[in-house]
């Protein structure tokens, strides 16, 4: 798992530098930057295929209940335990390839004997929704903090800058696993039932808290350089309100790095969330979770490697597709960088 790091920042920064030039270059052809971007993107076959794959994953996540209804199973029933002859005495599927069959497409989960296909579909739903929420929220926080820091400057900038430095310098993985129980304990009395949403929210909160700094740092640098540019200076000199400067002058020039950064961050959050599941601090049973499937897989791979392949390969496809999509979007925004 890789937590969003500056690896992403850098690539985004590099294209952000050229955001301005992309605009002027487009004048040659006489199309708006957006149109031009779209045109370039459409021509990029890899990008289009990736987009379709990514879209498919989101659809799977969104339509999980529909898929379940069509497939006729759910992710909670322990088929293997209810129907004799599916699992052996050690809890492993009797049929070869992890119990794959016409009835159980992707086989059965060792131990509980739940349907792997349903686990995966609903697991994707859980993990993707967390990743999307975290991406959106941390991006918004990052935008606010980055712009505040860069625009106001002075002490505010110093404080936010130190906070960002500190957050970035920390082993985020460690903090994730350490802080999850703490966050949870802060919200629930020991006697209370821990609601599912709380763990969900805790994961989102912790990932967000540790994630916004990357984009904030990037935007701060962008704002600092933009602030010195003539058009912003001009706006300020002519007495435009800060809000106007920020929304009319700064933000339009920041969309490219923001979008690029967000597309880079999302697959990283998917990986991070799954990593939490793998380490046993992610979503709890019985909520299906992509990452927890890796934990099960890592425990049973000696005897049932098939089980590990489904979450593994599906995540590989998703992340590759999303990364390629990210590259394509970046290229579309910034044709100068050839990849």
């Amino acid at each position: 798992m890789t937590f969003p790091s500056s690896t992403a920042t850098d690539a985004a920064a590099e294209s952000a530098d050229t955001a301005g030039t992309a605009g002027s270059g487009s004048a040659v052809v006489g199309r708006s930057p957006g149109q031009l971007m779209w045109r370039r993107f459409r021509r990029d076959k890899t990008g289009v295929v990736s987009a379709i794959i990514v879209l498919a994953f989101f659809l799977i996540a969104l339509l999980a209940p529909v898929i379940a209804a069509l497939y006729g199973k759910d992710p909670y029933t322990t088929y293997g335990q209810n129907q004799p002859g599916l699992l052996n005495e050690f809890g492993y599927p009797i049929a070869p390839n992890g119990g794959m069959s016409g009835e159980f497409w992707f086989g059965l989960e060792p131990g509980l004997g739940r349907d792997v296909f349903m686990q995966l579909v609903y697991g994707i739903r859980t993990s993707l929704s967390i990743a999307v929420i975290v991406t959106v929220v941390s991006t918004i926080i990052g935008i606010v903090m980055g712009i505040t820091s860069g625009y106001i400057g002075g002490k505010t900038d110093y404080v936010i800058g130190r906070v960002i430095d500190t957050l970035l310098a920390f082993p985020s993985q460690l903090f994730l696993i350490v802080f999850l129980p703490v966050v949870e304990a802060a919200f629930v009395l020991p006697e209370e039932e821990t609601p599912v949403w709380l763990r969900y929210v805790s994961i989102c909160v912790v990932l967000t808290v540790l994630g916004w700094a990357t984009i904030a740092r990037l935007l701060r640098a962008q704002v600092l350089s933009l602030r010195a540019r003539e058009f912003v200076e001009a706006a300020r000199v002519t007495g435009a309100s800060p809000a106007r400067v920020i929304f009319k002058e700064l933000l339009p020039n920041l969309w490219t790095p923001i979008i690029i950064q967000a597309t880079l961050a999302l697959p990283l959050y998917v990986g991070a969330e799954a990593g939490l599941g793998f380490l046993g601090v992610g979503m709890t049973e019985p909520t299906p979770d992509w990452g927890r499937m890796f934990q099960v897989g890592a425990n049973v791979y000696h005897s049932d490697v098939t089980y590990l392949l489904f979450p593994g390969v599906s995540m590989l496809i998703f992340v590759v597709a999303f990364n390629l999509l990210g590259d394509s979007i970046r290229d579309a925004f910034d044709p100068r960088t050839k990849r």
Binding site: A27, V28, V29, R40, R43, P335
Partner: protein
Amino acid sequence: MTTVSWSGEPGTSRGPGPFLSVRDLSVEFSTEDGIVHAVDGLSFDLEKGTTLGIVGESGSGKSVTNLAILGLHDPAHTKIGGEIWLEDQELISADRGTMEKLRGNRVAMIFQDPLTALSPFHTIGRQIGEVYRKHKGASKKEARDRAVEMLRRVGIPQPETRVDHYPHEFSGGMRQRAMIAMALVCDPDLLIADEPTTALDVTVQAQILDLLKELQQQFGTAIILITHDLGVVAGTADNVLVMYAGRAAERGTVREVLREPRHPYTWGLLSSMPRLNSSVDVPLKPVRGTPPSLLNPPSGCPFHPRCDYPKLAGPELCFNQRPSISPETGHGDACYLTLEQKRELRTAKIEDRA
């Protein structure tokens, strides 16, 4: 002064000709959005000890032309046609080794922004010295001494200490001087200066131009001076080539082009330039419109969308057919207007301005 011959037949066999001869040069870049015709059928010659100023807006192909002379284009995305002769050596078809031996040695280049054009990671002395070592096989010590000497020659004070400094420790003018020192370290026959003064203060500009002139007189170097500033050309060059959309729009001696400009584009350039003797009340007139896209250049005369007189030469001519430069030698331009028409229009324009 007018020793330059402007013979224009491409591909003819070469006897003892000019020092540098560019014949029907074309440069095309393939990009995401299509093929860019950066230079299209350009020819010119240059004799030793003279200076040719190449003038044009950005994107007119002036820098591309000179990069092509040095073979510095990206071979993966660039297609080059035509011929470039440096004395009896054809450069476009030359192999990499030949070009490497040539660059920095017989042909040197000065770039616009000395800050980005110098490696920030190496000392000035090393950057100058390594050229000398590469081409002259000098030892480290000799190279260093040479670097000190060159720095002194270009007027950098305390060259013995400055030689060990990094570019970021130099001022802008000093950097450009160092750049020139680096270009001249092997006594090149041809120096290409690509906007050498654009990034500098006006006072420093003059110093640098003077320095170039001085060095040219000393060593007899041929210089190609690329600039968008006609003022620089007026004071420095012997001949001028005005480029527009990858083609030559007008060429001739400095006197010819500046005194009697023939091409409407040249008029535009001249009228957008402030003059000391003109009234401050008269506004400068830039050439209207924007430079054309080189992806799909306008049909006919590439200048016609910005030209004030496209219909004068006939109803369709300027729109459909590309004019070529005429006459073949001497003061020539690529415009369908008759010399008469040009003279009248120019006079009217200049009077208008005065």
